[in-house]
């Protein structure tokens, strides 16, 4: 009946991660004010999704995997991150 052929014993490739964005989960979007940022990297350290990365200008956010938890904004010692409601 089934048209799709499935392997008898399913396997995966080591080291390969295939994933989908979770940005649609987000209610609030973290926006970093780089002028205020002191590059302490606390946001980078505590981001549970690993979606904040380092750049010479300061932290950048890969919004595809940001769930909008707001830990970065809450922990930022200089309040350089603002949570803005998604449209």
């Amino acid at each position: 009946m089934g048209k799709t052929q499935l392997p008898e014993i399913p396997v995966r490739q080591l080291g390969v991660v295939a994933t989908n964005p979770v940005e649609h989960w987000r209610e609030f979007r973290p926006v970093i004010n780089l002028e205020r940022c002191r590059k302490c990297w606390i946001c980078f350290t505590y981001c549970p999704e690993g979606t904040i990365y380092k750049s010479p200008e300061g932290p950048k956010i890969d919004y595809a995997f940001c769930k909008g938890c707001g830990i970065c904004a809450n922990e930022c010692p200089v309040k350089a991150i603002e949570m803005v409601r998604e449209e």
């Binding site: 799709t4 295939a18 994933t19 989908n20 981001c47 549970p48 769930k67």
Partner: protein, 696 residues
């Protein structure tokens, strides 16, 4: 007077059990049965049901305690699903010989088989031979009515057997329908209170008790006696279901329900919630003058052999179909089909027979699917000779497309964990240290649902009670094969402190070179916030709710560090997500211990949970930090027997600062807060006494 309201199947079972005035409830969380016992916990917490409530460490014990309570003369209840039923199997097998009537709800779900949460009968069917009555509910109303009927049948002196109430996972457990709730007075009138029998175990009241010793050559006799009992139970089932139907005006009569069987040439046998769609297919075919009919099993045990034969003979049925949501592997048939086929042997003119295997792993069986089955049955009526066959009703698999693919990655984004989840951060820290040569062993948990799909290393599921044993087997294979693969167990607190503690202890005693990491979010979060052995005192959970009678969890948590210290393994430590340097150093020390095959390392991480602890996800680190600063979560390590507090704050902050951030503690009285403060201060003092001491 009763009332009509909207209830899910699980809520309906809970109401039915409450109306039946169950006296002892003993359960362990497992999807999809869990909400049954959450509702019951609410009833007890609010004082609406006077019952003893037991929170054991696993299903093996949950069913044992319910059985024992029934053997001791109380009306008892338990509920489980799938792996839980499998884990409890030996107790389930033991139960009938106690001749202690009690009720177990089975929220059906696939057993084993790639760990689906979805419904089929592969869990309940293997228990069909053990000596339990088995009732299958079709609707939410039947879920509510069944407990009072089943208690009355089971407690009849001509029966005295345990009974299973089967309700299909999600299709019934989590589907909402309008139901009529009878009044307590009417139910009390119908169902008298539980009686004592001669074999009931209560030496202070009775002068006889159950004798477990069977003399030699008595086993076959007792097996026959059980069969006689099942035969007798049919009469009781007819009596009780007739009485219920007359009193409450809802048809629950008999072992089977016949649907449009008059003159039926093709007959389909179904059970459970699929029956409703099958009935609609029968309606459609009857409108086309196709003589289709249906038998629904209300009871599968006792097996309604005479009833099936009567319907077939009376109507001259030419083809019989059985829909099985389970397979007896190696026989190419389902268990229901096997019983029906042997029944057909009694007939002189045997109809053709088709076994349909359908609805496995929660796959939908639609009205169209049932029409297709009837078409097959119609075709089977045309030949000269009766035929027997099995048809797998296969579906087109849904393959999820992934937008991003990364190579050489240990962990990617896009986990299914909640925003602000401590486990997500924990995984980020841990995977930054783990390389490709790591095998992660994961029991069922939030982690197992959220992380494996975005991890590049094998995260292999282990049964809830046995991850340490899985880890030992993997590691020993690598050792003897000269492989460098490291084995890490990542388990939640429910596994580590409750159901998996026995196998963890055994592995620790043997000092196996494996790393065990407990991420402690202080409850069974994956099944929806049920109390675990490490849930803090006074914390609200769905199985320790707050009401007039209960004020959250009534005892202090288990001390896992002391338990691990008692095993004298080379490295033990507690970690906090807020103290990253301390976290990294301890993780490295633990990896050194296992990578050099020195022995076992045990890490215990405070894994903050915004969803279960009821705080805003942005506060995760704040909560984690305050746990350490208030002394609620001491940071310590024991390396080769030397105890060290790795962070000593100049002065502990009041625990109230930590508690007040979390909704799970919102109900706490000043007295309760004081109790926690005293507990923390006393513990801190005893830890300071151990500081820098060599303990072994």
């Amino acid at each position: 007077m009763g009332k009509v309201t909207l209830l899910s199947g699980n809520a309906a079972v809970a109401y039915g059990v409450k109306l039946s005035r169950a006296q002892v409830i003993s359960t362990y969380p497992i999807t999809p049965s869990t909400t049954i016992v959450e509702y019951l916990a609410e009833f007890v917490a609010r004082g609406e049901l006077k019952a003893e409530y037991i929170h054991p460490e696993g299903e093996h014990s949950a069913v044992a305690a319910a059985l024992a309570a029934a053997a001791a003369g109380a009306r008892s209840f338990t509920a489980t699903s799938s792996q839980g039923l499998g884990y409890a199997y030996e107790i389930v097998a033991q139960a009938p010989a106690f001749r202690a009537p009690f009720l177990m709800a089975i929220a059906d779900r696939t057993l084993g088989w790639y760990w689906s949460l979805q419904s089929d009968y592969s869990d309940i069917m293997p228990t069909r031979d053990l000596g339990w009555l088995q009732f299958f509910a079709e609707s939410v109303q039947e879920c509510l009515d069944a407990p009072m009927i089943l208690y009355k049948i089971a407690e009849n002196e001509n029966v005295l057997l345990p009974v299973m109430l089967s309700l299909d996972g999600f299709n019934l457990t989590h589907s909402t329908e309008p139901v009529s709730i009878p009044s307590q007075e009417d139910v009390d009138d119908f169902l008298p209170s539980r009686k004592m029998y001669k074999h009931t175990l209560d030496p202070s009241v009775q002068d006889t008790f159950l004798d477990h010793r069977l003399p030699p050559n008595a086993h076959t006799i007792y097996r026959r006696i059980f069969e006689d009992t099942f035969e007798r139970s049919k009469k009781v089932i007819y009596e009780v279901t007739r009485e219920f139907t007359e009193r409450f005006g809802r048809d629950m009569y008999g072992l089977i329900e016949e649907y449009k069987t008059d003159g039926a040439e093709i007959l389909l046998l179904t059970m459970g919630s699929m029956t409703t769609a099958a009935k609609r297919a029968v309606d459609a075919l009857r409108r086309e003058n196709i003589k289709a009919g249906l038998i629904k099993f209300r009871f599968f045990r006792p097996f309604p052999e005479e009833e099936i034969i009567e319907v077939i003979e009376k109507n001259g049925v030419k083809a019989v179909g059985v829909v099985d949501r389970a397979v007896s592997h190696g026989s190419r048939r389902g268990p229901v089909a096997q019983d029906v086929l042997s029944t057909l042997y009694k007939l002189k003119d045997r109809p053709s027979f088709i076994n349909f295997i359908a609805g496995m792993g929660g796959e939908d069986i639609s009205i169209e699917d049932f029409k297709t089955m009837f078409k097959y049955l119609n075709n089977a009526t045309t030949g000269d000779k009766a035929t027997v066959s099995t048809i797998f009703m296969e579906k087109e698999p849904v393959i999820e497309k992934q937008r991003f693919t990364y190579k050489d990655k240990m962990l990617g984004g896009g986990s299914y964990l909640c925003p602000g989840c401590g486990i997500a951060l924990f995984a980020k820290y841990v995977f930054s240290k783990l390389g490709k040569n790591t095998l992660v062993v994961v029991p069922p948990s939030c982690y197992s649902v959220g992380i494996p799909r975005v991890s590049g290393v094998p995260n292999i599921l282990a049964n809830f009670a046995a991850p340490a044993a899985f880890a030992r087997g993997y590691k020993r294979a690598y050792l003897i094969r000269g492989s460098k693969t490291r084995v890490v167990v990542i388990a939640g607190d429910g596994c580590a402190a409750d159901i998996g503690l026995q196998s963890l202890s055994s592995a620790a005693e043997a000092n196996e070179p494996i790393l065990w990491i407990t991420y402690d979010n202080e409850a069974y979060m994956n099944t929806g916030i049920q109390r675990s052995g490490t849930t803090p005192y006074a914390a609200w959970t769905t199985t320790t709710p707050v009401g007039d009678v209960w004020k959250g969890k009534n005892v202090f948590p288990k001390d896992m560090i002391s338990i691990m210290m008692a095993h004298r393994i080379p490295y033990i430590a507690t970690l906090s997500l807020a103290f990253t340097k301390d976290f990294e150093e301890k993780l490295q020390k633990a990896l050194d211990v296992v990578d050099n095959n020195v022995g076992m390392a045990y890490l215990h991480v405070h894994a903050v949970c915004p969803t279960g602890w009821r705080f805003d996800p942005s506060k995760s680190i704040e909560v984690a930090r305050l746990a350490v600063l208030t002394g609620v979560w001491p940071l310590l390590e024991i390396k080769n027997g030397v105890f060290n507090l790795t962070f000593i704050p100049p002065k502990l902050r009041p625990v109230k600062e930590y508690l007040q951030l979390q909704g799970r503690f919102a109900h706490m009285s000043e007295d309760q807060i004081k109790e926690v403060q005293n507990f923390v201060e006393k513990r801190w003092k005893s830890l300071m006494e151990l500081h820098e001491k060599k303990l072994w």
